[in-house]
């Protein structure tokens, strides 16, 4: 199968850069699978799991917290706000994010638009937490 270059970048460092055949990313409009020669697409990402199928058939999973993906026929770059390998994910850290989002909601000092955003984020986080517990 045709492979392409996939890069997973977080603000702190380049996490992954390798040839892959298939990447499943949690785009904000629903999960999408990127394969070689995908049409150029730019999409935002919600918190979720990225599944990477390397050229040698090895599958690895990463947990990302929001960001966006830049997809070109020749490669895919995922700019994640924060990303960790699914095996190393820290449940306490997710709980902490959920708590922080909840606190922000209760703060009430923000505009409605902002509150809606936080609410969606909170829902996505809770969902992610559910998925991870099932692992």
């Amino acid at each position: 199968m045709a492979d392409f270059n996939f890069e997973l970048v977080s603000p702190e460092r380049l996490l992954l850069s390798e040839r892959v055949t298939e990447v499943v990313i949690p785009a904000s409009e629903g999960e999408m699978t990127v394969m070689a020669n995908h049409a150029p697409t730019m999409t935002t990402i919600k918190p979720g799991v990225v599944t990477v199928k390397a050229a040698d058939g090895k599958v690895s999973r990463y947990v990302v917290f929001g960001g966006f993906a830049d997809i070109l026929p020749t490669g895919c770059t995922l700019l994640a706000e924060s990303a960790v390998r699914a095996e190393e994910v820290d449940h306490a850290a997710i709980e902490k994010r959920i708590e922080a989002a909840k606190a922000e909601l209760e703060d009430g000092a923000h505009s409605d638009e902002h509150r809606t955003r936080v609410e969606t984020f909170l829902a996505e986080l809770t969902q992610l937490n559910g998925i991870l517990v099932a692992f």
């Binding site: 702190e12 380049l14 150029p40 700019l79």
Partner: protein, 294 residues
């Protein structure tokens, strides 16, 4: 004239100081390497970010739906200055350089009759600016407890800035930090965060690619998600550059201090030896003249 014992004590104390400065220099060198690595590791992200941002800005720019963070409020009455400095001193002119640069900018704004608000990141800048502009400082971010600056630290500052903008607290936001040129040269820099100045150089090279992108959701929505993120990334980059700069400045400052201490020891040893010789000669003269008198 200090006695022999005094000189000996001075030499011992200068030697002890030299040991400390030498150790600090080596610590700074090790930290500098780590800071440089961190800054380098963060580069791919900010590069990709600016490419993507200019692509989208171009796609959106034409229909005028760009979000407020990009266009600003249309006024420039209230300015917010985010001044990033180090938490610790003993790094030469590093902190005062940034503070002076920010202060010049501040005075100019005040002279033009603008309202100015300051957020201080780092203790040293706060200490310097507090003397003159205590009433203008609205917030102080303390990173002293933070061993290694992570994206979360920058993100908190970024969110704070955006929160203030949403409450209509300021019109223009400028970030002050020190750009890390090399170990011996750090240049204080001002970077306008809001309204964001679109990175012009990337636009021309990416112009061809921009036209065929599909956006999901539409470009405007991605942009409004991207720009707050970009602000955090810029703050993050500034903080990393600052750490690298601080360590570089500290290294050269401590190197200077070590060298000065060495010079001082040489000088003191010389006068110690001279005085010891003088004392020996004096004693000899006493003995000889005593013997002659017999």
């Amino acid at each position: 004239m200090p006695s022999l014992k005094d000189l000996k004590n001075r030499i011992a104390s200068v030697k002890a100081t030299q040991k400390i400065t030498k150790a600090m220099k080596m610590v700074a060198a090790a930290k500098l390497r780590r800071a440089q690595e961190a800054a380098e590791a963060a580069r791919p992200y900010s590069q990709r970010m600016s490419v993507v941002l200019s692509n989208i800005a171009q796609a959106v720019g034409s229909d005028g739906s760009a979000p407020g963070l990009m266009t600003g409020t249309g006024r420039d009455q209230t300015h917010l200055l985010v001044v990033c400095t180090a938490e610790r001193g003993l790094c030469g002119g590093f902190n005062s350089q940034i503070a002076r640069f920010a202060r010049d900018h501040l005075r100019k704004l005040l002279a033009d009759g603008k309202t100015v608000k300051i957020i201080c990141v780092g203790k040293k800048g706060f200490d310097i600016l507090r003397r003159e502009f205590a009433s203008l400082i609205i917030e102080r971010v303390d990173l002293r407890e933070v061993k290694k600056i992570g994206f979360e630290n920058a993100d908190q500052i970024g969110k704070k800035i955006i929160g203030l903008f949403e409450k209509d607290e300021f019109d223009v936001c400028t970030l002050f930090y020190s750009e890390f040129k090399s170990v011996i040269s750090q240049v204080p820099t001002a970077l306008q965060l809001i309204p964001a100045a679109a990175p012009a150089e990337a636009v021309s090279t990416e112009a061809g690619a921009a036209a065929i992108y599909e956006y999901e959701p539409d470009a405007g929505e991605i942009l409004s998600d991207l720009i707050p993120r970009n602000i955090s990334v810029q703050v993050f980059r500034a903080l990393l550059e600052n750490v690298a700069g601080e360590m570089g400045a500290k290294m050269s400052a401590m190197d200077n201090a070590t060298r000065n201490a060495g010079e001082m020891i040489n000088k003191l040893t010389l006068s110690y030896n001279r005085q010891r010789q003088a004392q020996i000669t004096k004693e000899l003269i006493e003995i000889i003249s005593g013997a002659e008198a017999l």
